[in-house]
Amino acid sequence: MKESVGITIPSHPKYLSVVRKTTDAVGKLYGLPEPDLEDIKLAIDEACSNVIKHAYGGDETKKIVVKYTITKKRFKVIIEDSGFKAQIEFMQGRSLNDVRPGGLGIHFIRRVFDGLKFDERKKKGNRLILSKTLQVKE
């Protein structure tokens, strides 16, 4: 059965802890293994941070919607905003060998989610769809 949980937070960095706690609770509810859950929390935090920094340009008065959907085979997270369209550079990040501040967030996202795409049907703002294939228990 497909079930979903969603939260809406203001685009203020102080609410990132709420996203992490919610992700933790949802992950535990669905029995995601602990190491994966820590990586997932970090990845979703980074994606929301990117929304605040890039889509909203630091405006802390907007909204971010985070929706979690889980099936037997996939854990999917949709992060929506109404800000500026994400630039393709967001998907790149810096080389891990090029040590400088910034550019790590996308690596933390790609590390744990095997699916990462923006929904091109969304006219205003962004809808980032992250998905992770789950190990199906025999």
Binding site: P13, S49, P101, G102, F108
Partner: protein, 109 residues
């Protein structure tokens, strides 16, 4: 995140506790930069009570490290929890930051 400043054998220590994220890292940056401007020769960061770090927290330390290196200073970490060490390893920053098991090891290095 909570920040406690202290000294150990005449050297500055910043002891952090809680989550170092996009919300708290600007406060950490301010504290770091005050010490960097004073050109402290060595700064120890106690990670023992850090429960979480994200890319903005890491970026703050990379900036602090680069600033300290510019005048020959040393930024030294100790008590890094396994989960955070794993993030440093993944980011290849375990080779960039000076990381020690405890304060004595850092002090004697």
């Amino acid at each position: 995140m909570n920040i406690e400043l202290s000294e150990y054998k005449g050297k500055k220590i910043i002891a952090l506790s809680g989550d170092v994220d996009m919300h708290s890292s600007p406060v950490l940056r301010d504290e770091l930069m005050v010490l960097v401007k004073k050109k402290v020769p060595a700064l120890f960061i106690d990670f023992n009570k850090v429960s979480y770090i994200d890319s903005s927290g890491i970026a703050t330390f990379v900036e602090g490290l680069k600033s300290m290196k510019s005048y020959g200073g040393r930024l030294q970490f100790f008590g890094v929890p396994p989960r955070i060490m794993e993030i440093f390893n993944f980011s290849k920053l375990d080779k960039v930051f000076e990381i020690y098991g405890n304060i004595e090891d850092a002090f004697n290095s």
